[in-house]
Symmetry: C2
Subunit: 199 residues, 2 copies
């Protein structure tokens, strides 16, 4: 049975998967998480609901996987960055997304952050598939900075780098009525995150 | 005509106003901003829609006023704080709300932040009535710290105190799966905000 499932699973090509994720994100932008149904995804992508459930387990997992398939989801993560300095690493992380990605992601993330409140399965999937990998990359970048002697190993701000980053990202529209651009995030890192880390 | 409007306006007592705001927040928690109607507010509070529109102008203004009527909306603002040190001022600001307020506000604010995306009038009312006063209080607290010589007048982190604060407040649930308590916000201020300010 397991073999059959694996065989079926492997029938979805990377191209088909990308197509499917694009359709999910499109639907998400159109109707939001709560109104998005597996029926609608099946209809839009001409797949069967059984396939969707077998492949992804449920709506929360499918949506978060689709989000994760985009580069630069929360302007962080995805691949290793090692420029030789903490400032260089942070700037490289921000430069991975272009401004258009950042703005689109900002809107999607706001919508999902809201939906997470009433959907514990979405919060769980989001934490597992997006927050945890971000935190892990952040820890790696910080550990290297500690090893280089750039920051003290007991600096308490190390636990809050992602909080600060999300603050800059999420509050930009509300406070300054401007989208979070690369230029803004870069100057925010220099003004706030590096000084808080004592770097 | 203006006099008549003023006379009418003054008929609403502070008690009645408080009752009305409580009903609006209750409805907001039940159905969310988009599904909240002036009809529902009128029915729940036994007032006429004409009175609501005359008094508040519209749904966005009414909702933001109701939110503002609560103490400690985003854990900041409302009255002057002057303890003699920047750290003391920040801690006093956080202590104005109890943990229960903080958690309730956190949920309400997440909902509204989402709704702001599709409702420019809500974003405008929120900025005017909540963000702007917060920024003004923040600027006052920071100016005093500069005058006391605690922070340098050209520190670029001064423009981002509210971004950092909102980051701690909003990302706490998502990253740490815990509500933003007074204890957390106090240690976040010490670990992140004061060091970023060089204080």
């Amino acid at each position: 049975m397991a073999e059959v499932a694996t065989a079926r699973r492997s029938r979805i090509t990377p191209e088909r998967e990308a197509e499917l994720y694009a359709a999910v994100l499109e639907l998400l932008r159109e109707v939001g998480y709560d109104a998005l149904t597996m029926d609608a995804v099946a209809a839009r992508t001409k797949s069967s609901k059984a396939t969707l459930y077998r492949q992804w387990g449920g709506k929360a997992e499918l949506v978060v996987k689709a989000l994760k398939s985009q580069k630069h989801v929360v302007s962080l993560s995805d691949g290793d960055v090692d420029t030789g300095s903490l400032r260089g690493d942070f700037h490289a992380i921000v430069r991975r997304g272009d401004d258009c990605d950042l703005e689109q992601n900002s809107a999607l993330m706001r919508g999902l952050a809201m939906a997470m409140h009433g959907n514990p399965d979405l919060l769980r999937a989001f934490r597992e598939m997006i927050i945890e990998p971000e935190l892990q990359e952040m820890r790696l970048v910080l550990r290297r900075a500690v090893d280089r002697g750039e920051i003290r190993p007991d600096n308490p701000a190390m636990d809050y780098v992602l909080h600060m980053m999300i603050g800059g990202f999420a509050a930009r529209t509300m406070i300054d009525e401007q989208p979070p651009t690369q230029a803004f995030l870069t100057s925010y890192i220099d003004a706030v995150i590096l000084p808080a880390l004592g770097a």
